[in-house]
């Protein structure tokens, strides 16, 4: 976790040093790297027979629990966003 934070901070430092220039390539790199990461996540899931077989046995329980948790969390964060953006008057950005 410390490593992850350190990498982020060094990226921020490099970006700050280059603040005189518009880094147009970086957002495109982010998109491509997201694709790669999702591909690797898929490979990990596909290569793990426990996960693949487990999906048929325990997957329904997991799906039920995670989806209901997500519904609750979306509802609460939506309420917070409505509250915050209404008092700011407008789109809240």
């Amino acid at each position: 976790m410390l490593k992850v934070v350190a990498i982020m901070l060094s990226g921020m430092a490099v970006g700050f040093l280059m603040r005189k220039r518009r880094l147009r390539v970086v957002p495109h790199a982010v998109t491509v790297l997201i694709w790669l990461l999702l591909f690797f996540l898929g490979v990990e899931v596909g290569e793990n027979p426990q996960v693949i077989q487990g999906i048929s046995h325990l997957g329904v329980e997991a799906l039920w629990l995670s989806l209901s948790g997500l519904v609750g969390t979306i509802a609460f964060s939506w309420a917070l966003w409505k509250w915050v953006s209404r008092q700011k008057g407008g789109d809240g950005k």
Binding site: M1, K3, V4, I7, M8, S10, G11, M12, A13, V14, G15, F16, M18, R19, L23, P27, A29, V30, T31, L33, I34, W35, L37, L38, F39, F40, L41, G42, V43, E44, V45, G46, E47, N48, V51, L58, E61, A62, L63, W64, L65, S66, L67, S68, G69, V71, G72, T73, I74, A75, F76, S77, W78, A79, L80, W81, W83, V84, G92, K93
Partner: protein, 200 residues
């Protein structure tokens, strides 16, 4: 929508490659995906550091947004408690322990396996992987229908690492700092809440 479909496409392609064993050396990929993650975080850091107006915007950040981690935790636990009523085979505390993973599947499944056995541990692993995948894939739609805080809340404990790039991409760079703040707090709550519900 198009962005989301492309992402699903890459994920499915990955699963197919994994199941078919088209790619050599399984263990090397953990490392490659970690390095990819590092590259991503570095790029995200660069966009943040490059945008000096963002740093100024953080000082103007609404303190009420600091309530977001609390919303994530209470929202998830309240809904999971209700969901446990529909699962006769599982107790309330077992369901809450699974919910308390907040997407942090590696740690929560290990902890739950230790306290409650591998069966519930597998449920925790799958439930929290689903949560992370849902956040990664659903982020564009979540932002559109429920505002920029929704993917942060869904990301749970992962919003300071794995889901941070996608949140930056779809919620906007203005939400990077609240995402880091949120991920930090929720991440720390996972070991405490999971063990708490497992030992009740």
């Amino acid at each position: 929508m198009k962005g989301s479909l492309i992402i699903v496409g890459f994920f499915i392609l990955g699963i197919v490659c994994g199941v078919m064993h088209w790619l050599p050396d399984l263990n090397a990929y953990g490392n490659v995906s970690f390095l990819t993650l590092c590259a991503l975080l570095f790029c995200v850091g660069m966009t943040v550091g490059n945008n000096t107006t963002l740093l100024k915007s953080f000082t103007k950040l609404d303190p009420r947004l600091m309530l977001l981690p609390l919303m994530t935790i209470t929202g998830t636990l309240a809904a999971t408690a209700i969901a446990s009523l529909g699962m006769p085979g599982r107790s309330l505390t077992e369901c809450l322990a699974v919910g308390s993973g907040f997407g942090y599947y590696s740690l929560s499944s290990i902890l739950i396996t230790q306290y409650n056995g591998p069966e519930l541990g597998t449920v925790a692993l799958l439930a929290n992987i689903i949560r992370e995948i849902f956040t990664l894939l659903g982020a564009p739609l979540l932002v559109r229908f429920f505002g920029p805080l929704a993917p942060i809340s869904c990301g749970g404990a992962t919003t300071m690492d794995t889901t941070l790039p996608i949140i930056t991409r779809y919620s906007g760079e203005n939400f990077v700092l609240i995402s880091l703040f949120h991920g930090f707090l929720v991440d720390f709550s996972v070991p405490f809440l999971v063990t708490f519900f497992c030992t009740l």
